[in-house]
């Protein structure tokens, strides 16, 4: 299948001043296929946010190219269609809500691309429905919880009917309840056929994805399905990363009961294994 996003030897550095540059991305190449659910992980400062800003042309590479549906992000004529294709949800729920009323904020992007009013109404309703925020549509944003605000931000992106949404640590400011709400929405959208790219520090969140890309010092060091990635406990540790807490617990139990599987990354798998195991023991 034709990739929705393709990076070819992308390098990028921030210019601090005339003389100094900080090289952040180093020769990165990968492709994302429509409908994929990809997590990007890496420790602080490894270049994840810089990378995600390249995916919709907010930043453009110094060397190499980013192609979105075959359009180069360097071509300014493509800017609007690229940003319509790839939406971004950022970390701070407060810093991405523009309007004073929820539904107006959801409409902000649609106003920018001059969607006719009737169509706009329909899309706003639809988007608020998907994130289950319809009953809050007339509220001012400062009367919402963090998780609710983040869902409004998602609705704002969703209303533009993108093919792909990038979440840059979109759950990191939320408590576990808010995080669950947002994760559910992400799952749902992926099931609806949307491509999801999520940057995260939570390994349990990364375990939800179909594929994990591990970034270290602006380079890709691993790119595989979660189960594959989390087998490499030692390598991850060297990259200052962990495995999901479920895997850690499984490992602990495995020390006591060698039959207990260590290749568990999701909660329900873990529960299943415990059930299976306790039955075996009882009989």
């Amino acid at each position: 299948m034709e990739p929705i996003i393709r990076l070819e030897n992308v390098s990028f550095s921030y210019k601090i001043n005339e003389k100094t540059k900080v090289s952040v991305l180093k020769n990165i190449s990968f492709s994302i296929i429509p409908g994929e659910y990809v997590a990007i992980i890496g420790h602080n400062g490894s270049g994840k946010s810089t990378l995600s800003k390249h995916l919709n042309g907010i930043l453009t590479p110094d060397n190499g190219d980013v192609w979105v549906h075959g359009n180069n992000t360097k071509d300014t004529n493509n800017k609007r269609s690229i940003r319509q294709t790839v939406g971004t949800v950022f970390q701070h729920p407060d810093n991405q809500i523009v309007a004073t009323i929820v539904e107006e904020d959801v409409a902000f992007g649609l106003e920018n691309i001059e969607v006719p009013r009737e169509e706009m109404k329909k899309r706003v309703d639809e988007a608020l429905n998907v994130v289950k925020m319809s009953q809050f549509r007339h509220r001012p944003p400062h009367h919402l919880s963090g998780g609710q605000k983040q869902r409004v931000a998602i609705a704002g992106v969703l209303a533009m009917h993108p093919d792909c949404i990038v979440f840059d640590e979109a759950t990191s400011m939320l408590d576990s309840f808010g995080r669950k709400e947002v994760l559910q929405v992400m799952r749902k959208m992926n099931n609806m056929g949307m491509t999801i790219i999520t940057v995260t520090h939570h390994m349990s969140e990364a375990a939800e994805a179909d594929r994990i890309i591990v970034i270290e010092d602006g380079q890709i060091v691993m790119d595989a399905p979660p189960r594959e990635i989390f087998k490499h406990k030692q390598e991850l540790k060297n990259l200052q990363l962990e495995v999901p807490s479920v895997s850690q617990m499984a490992e602990g139990i495995h020390q006591q009961f060698p039959d207990f599987s260590t290749e568990l990354i999701q909660e329900d798998e873990f529960i299943d294994e415990v059930m299976k195991f306790s039955k075996v023991e009882v009989i």
């Binding site: 939406g87 810093n95 539904e103 409409a107 106003e111 009013r117």
Partner: protein
Amino acid sequence: MSSEFEISRSITIGQYVPTDSYIHRLDPRVKLLLFVVIVVAIAFNTSYIGNAIGLFLSLYLFWASKIPISYGLSGVKPAIPFIIILALLQLLFQGQLFSGGKVYVDYGFILITSESIRLVVVSAVRFIEIIFLSSVLTLSTSTTQLTHSIQSLLSPLKKINFPVHEISLITTISIRFVPTFAIEMEKMMKAQASRGADFGTGGWWRIIQRTKETFPIIIPLFNIALSRAEDLILAMESRCYTPGGNRSSYSVYKTLAKDYLVLLVGLLFAYLLIFYPFPF
């Protein structure tokens, strides 16, 4: 002790009271326009009767919009010292300028006449009327409606390249962030207070001390504002915002027959306030 930190609670901007009265349902542009016109008319009117009618109108509007009058009074309360000081100054020093009518006191430079008393009373009442009227306007109209109305009323200026859209977006964003910054400021005051900073213990008359107290708050607040602004620009750009570009509009207001009727009545009212020779 807790009260001095709770800034976000005492912010009344955008304090919309949704009672769904017919005042609430009026076209916000009509409301805004009439507000401006009537305030101007009140400013022109110097008669007792005219201002009594104005006061009556503003009270009627509270009743009609089903908003408790206490909201209006709480707007007047902080202005009372100001109104009193203004009245005293006018009474003592402006008598020479408005020296018509009966003379009550004539002592040195102090001249108190029936005309100067009229001036004092009328300007105090005027003040209260204007506070009431603006309270009704902001309590019955959401900030979004207001900014949209401003945009809509200013839109003829687009022809002379006045950035109407940008102005209205800037207004919206500022209003949007008022509560956010208030909360931010609260957090910061608590953080500073827990490290021994002293807020609000000096009386309000110790202006210099109280100003100094705010520096450790204002400077970090600027920092936060700037970094938020950067984030906001990124988020807006990601959602296809192009400065100066064409945009469509989500909220559209229809002016109905009843809006025109209210507009007509309001304009007539303002006309009378300005031009009718009230006897008293």
